[in-house]
């Protein structure tokens, strides 16, 4: 990537779009490390996290990234995600912190009985707990501006009040590549180095760089049941089958990854990365549609975010 495979436009060499995006993300990460007291990288094991981790390795090479990885776990992720998580952290030479919300653990909060409380407690509350517990002042997140309308306006450096709330009306202007990293007492910053990447950029970059991602993104025969219009994979024995439900083996893959009982699979024959990209380009529904969380109303993500969901 870094060697300039130059596209000559007349007189001078012009960086390709992926080279420009890569250089920008690296610049952002280095600014954080130069100015933060105690940074951390939120690592969710998805493809965006994989890209972000890869960029961090590049930004600080030959040193390992000078911060730990934090996985705010729900105990309900796919088994394949836990495997990749541990492997990727070890390969990067980074400390991996796994946080489980002790209250959710004690109450046995799960996606079958507790609906939206599951996300609220494990993810939203869990993230706040972990950041406070370890006194992290800056947290990298893998969010992209193209994911959802309200994210298009979020800054690269996004400030959170002492109680982790986001105030969209009171954001700092970001000029050139100068980031104002000063924060008040108790404030923390979420930094999004992938802000300007699109889903297609991410896939192309993974392809070009040969980045290790969870095999669930590729099609395979997997046991699924059809429930409420979604194909849900039966990933372990905790899955509660309803009357008449019988897992069927289907060729499926996942476009986004989360808690397995809440994540819809798509039927697909795409077994390689180019095939996945091909399918993505020819498809007609957007990425977030597989997630249950923002179906209710157009503005739901914005509400979630104000409350502290990433």
């Amino acid at each position: 990537m870094s060697s300039i495979e130059t596209e000559t436009e007349g007189r001078a060499a012009t960086l390709t779009h992926l080279q420009r995006l890569e250089a920008e993300s690296i610049q952002i990460m280095r600014e954080v490390v130069a100015s933060a007291d105690n940074p951390v990288m939120l690592y969710s094991v998805g493809k965006d996290s994989a890209c972000m981790l890869h960029l961090a390795k590049k930004a600080f090479y030959p040193a390992p990234p000078p911060f730990p990885l934090l996985h705010v776990d729900t105990t309900w992720k796919f088994r394949a995600m836990y495997e990749l998580r541990d492997r990727a952290a070890a390969a990067a030479g980074m400390e991996l912190i796994v946080h489980h919300n002790p209250e959710a653990m004690e109450k046995g909060i799960n996606p079958f009985d507790h609906g939206s409380l599951h996300t609220d407690m494990w993810k939203t509350d869990g993230l706040k707990q972990a950041l406070s517990k370890f006194n992290f002042d800056v947290a990298f997140g893998g969010a992209r501006r193209d994911e959802e309308k309200s994210r298009a306006k979020e800054r690269v450096f996004s400030f959170r009040s002492a109680n982790h709330r986001w105030d969209p009306k009171n954001q700092r202007p970001e000029l050139w590549k100068l980031y104002n990293t000063r924060k008040g007492k108790g404030e923390s910053i979420r930094v999004f180095p992938l802000s300007n990447w699109t889903e297609l950029d991410i896939w192309q970059y993974i392809h070009l760089e040969g980045i290790d991602i969870v095999p669930l993104y590729f099609s395979d025969k997997r046991p699924v049941v059809e429930r409420d219009g979604l194909l849900i994979m039966v990933d372990d024995e905790r899955f509660r089958l309803r009357d008449g439900e019988q897992p069927m083996m289907k060729s499926v893959r996942f476009r986004t990854l989360g808690c397995y009982p809440l994540t819809g699979a798509v039927e697909s024959e795409a077994r390689t990365l180019p095939e996945v990209i091909q399918e993505m380009l020819l498809t007609t529904t957007s990425e977030r549609q597989g997630r249950a969380i923002d179906h209710d109303q157009s503005a739901s993500m914005e509400k979630k975010k104000q409350e502290g969901y990433f």
Binding site: S2, A13, H17, I26, Y61, S150, S286
Partner: protein, 640 residues
């Protein structure tokens, strides 16, 4: 218009289905263009962007369904597809029907990836436009063909030009509503040319379009055969990007971070701002001026033979010379300038007005310093281009000022290199980004005024007096008892054989500061001068007592920073407003309440409470004598 009946003009590349590997290879070589769209509220900006997203197949079916639904409920196109809804993000804005912040949108064609900064047209949001323009390679200025060149158009064009954008497209929109009239189009172009010349815009490309109907967006409009130029998208695909221009300049890289994983490796990480670099190149580190050569260009993917502007790399040196974050590495025989006083344009972005003399944090490149505006020169009326005399700048005001930094910094004129000429100012108390600035040039005096080394130094002065110099800074409301207590403190110290001097607010205003009033700007300057005088007196070995309301935290901090560590003793004379007002020794509160005295602290001008005072004396519980005794004890203890 019914979208389902009409095939998107920009069809998906057939290669995707036929040969995905070939498609991917082709798309790895795409370049990227960042542009900004600016226009007035009803110029159809959001509609145009929605159209570009739609025509380049960036809208999925589920989004389209939600768009159709929203169009019926809150749309402004009578239930028809309202493209604007695709890009108006935040809930509050959707209700108001306007965009109020910078939003970034993405789309791509076979040749390029595009990042669009969508910024609002409202006058009060200049700061958003400047933000969006700061990273843009190109600007699309929208004009409603029915309205022609408006005040807003002038404002946007001025800002685009100010931010140094060389590629400007004048998109004359809503041509469908003026019957695709060539005459109307050329009339607008002629008007705009006149204005462009006035502001020094070198060139622009006018394109007649209809965002709603899709004319000249992706394909040439059959309704306007008289127009021979490129379509909007066609031009966006061909326009040059800034990186290419920056590569032709001499090498510059601001050091972000020193990479030192072990004793054997020391690399300097940064993003190359200009030029190119190769191993063996002779380089210089600024501001120190030390020289060496480049040993290697290190990346995760292996060492490079060459790196160019725009790339993030890590450079190692042949020799061990000092270099840290904030320094700039430049080509040895073509260094940039180093200075500490500049003329610059400021775009003020905060509600709180700019105060000359107040220290702000200035961030430029990777360097962070303290800076003050020393001399506001004029404010620009962006609508008329008139220069107005002004001592301050309010929200969204643009002005030219002289600015001074607390140490020399490497820089270049913004017009040459935005990377080393663009800066932000940060308020030290609120941490808000309060201004964007662009350096014009260094003031020559900064190179010619040097410190005179004196043989009898401050230690010599102090030791002759057998004391440690200090500034005992009394702050508090008018009538709190500052002067009374300071006077007693001085008498006591004098009796003990100490060399003191009392600077009193009212007395200073009769002489040194007689030209200053009571506006915020004047209050800042008042304190700055008193601080400098007090500093000279400590150099002379004196214990200085000052009695000034000094209502703002920033200025008290500024004086504290002027002094040697430990020599500043802040005394907060803590008297509740009601008590001070009931005393009203000088009858000032009465006048202020009657409206005869403006900007009176505590009444219509704020007093910011000290957060780190060395001593707080409560005058409700303590007599002035007791308060003075406590302060004297503190000063004496400090000395022993």
């Amino acid at each position: 218009m019914n979208l389902q009946d009409k095939d998107p003009v920009y069809v998906t590349d057939a290669l995707i289905a036929e040969d995905i590997d070939a498609y991917l290879l082709k798309h790895q070589h795409k370049t990227m263009l960042r542009f900004i769209t600016c226009g007035s509220v009803d110029d159809g900006k959001s509609t145009l962007i929605g159209r570009l997203l739609y025509d380049s197949k960036m809208i999925f079916e589920d989004q389209l369904a939600s768009l159709e639904n929203d169009s019926k409920n809150v749309g402004t196109q009578g239930g028809e597809i309202d493209f604007a809804l695709l890009v108006d993000g935040l809930a509050a804005e959707r209700e108001q029907g306007i965009t109020i912040d910078v939003a970034y949108r993405f789309f791509a064609t076979d040749k390029r990836k595009f990042i669009v900064a969508d910024t609002p047209g409202h006058e009060q949001y200049t700061r958003n436009m400047v933000t969006g323009a700061s990273t843009a390679d190109l600007a699309v200025i929208l004009i409603d063909a029915r309205q022609g060149v408006l005040t807003q158009t002038r404002r946007h064009s001025y800002l685009v030009n100010l931010l140094g954008i060389k590629n400007v497209v004048l998109a004359v929109n809503k041509m469908d509503l003026v019957d695709y009239s060539a005459e109307r189009f050329y009339e607008i172009v002629s008007d705009y040319s006149h204005f462009a010349k006035q502001i020094g815009m070198e060139s622009f490309l006018p394109i007649p379009i209809s965002g709603l109907k899709g004319d000249n967006i992706v394909t040439k409009s059959p309704a306007m055969p008289w127009y021979q130029g490129p379509t909007l998208l066609g031009h966006l695909e061909e326009a040059p990007v800034n990186d290419a221009r920056m590569q032709e300049q001499p090498f510059r890289m601001a050091v972000q971070w020193v990479n030192r994983p072990n004793l054997d490796f020391r690399g300097f990480a940064g993003q190359i701002g200009a030029g190119q670099v190769r191993p063996g190149d002779a380089i210089r580190v600024l501001p120190s001026g030390k020289t060496t050569t480049v040993k290697s260009i290190v990346t995760f993917d292996g060492d490079l033979d060459q790196a160019v502007a725009g790339q993030s790399v890590t450079i190692t040196f042949a020799d061990e010379i000092d270099c840290s974050r904030g320094d700039v590495i430049v080509r040895s025989d073509a260094p940039c300038e180093v200075a500490d006083q500049f003329e610059a344009t400021l775009v003020w972005m905060a509600e709180q007005e700019m105060l000359p003399g107040r220290p702000y944090i200035l961030k430029i490149g990777t360097q962070t310093v303290t800076a003050t505006v020393t001399e506001p020169k004029y404010e620009v009326n962006v609508n008329t281009l008139e220069h107005l005399a002004s001592k301050t700048l309010g929200l969204n005001a643009i002005g030219v000022v002289n600015i001074s930094t607390d140490r020399p910094i490497p820089f270049e004129a913004y017009a040459t290199n935005p990377d080393l000429g663009g800066f932000i100012l940060i308020d030290r108390m609120s941490n808000a980004t309060v201004a964007a600035g662009m350096i014009h040039f260094a003031l020559r005096r900064s190179q010619n005024v040097h410190w005179q080394a004196l043989d009898v130094d401050r230690e010599a002065h102090a030791s002759l007096k057998n004391q440690k110099p200090a500034v005992v800074w009394f702050t508090g409301l008018s009538g709190s008892g500052k002067s009374t207590i300071a006077n007693i403190v001085e008498k006591k110290l004098h009796a003990l054989g100490k060399h003191t001097f009392l600077l009193d607010g009212d007395n200073i205003r009769h002489g040194l500061n007689r030209d200053l009033g009571f506006t915020d700007a004047d209050r800042v300057e008042n304190i700055r001068r008193v601080g400098e005088v007090a500093k000279l007196m400590t150099d002379a070995g004196l214990i200085v007592l000052t009695a000034f309301i000094s209502p703002f935290r920033s200025e008290r901090q500024m004086v504290r920073d002027l002094m040697a560590p430990g020599e500043f003793v802040e005394v907060f004379v803590d008297t509740p407003l009601a008590v001070a007002e009931s005393r009203d020794v000088k009858g000032l509160y009465k006048k202020a309440r009657a409206g005869q005295l403006k900007n009176f602290t505590g009444i219509d001008s704020p007093y910011e409470l000290p957060q780190q005072a060395e001593i707080t004396v409560n005058t409700v519980d303590l007599t002035p004598e007791d308060a003075a005794e406590r302060i004297v004890q503190y000063v004496l203890t400090r000395m022993s």
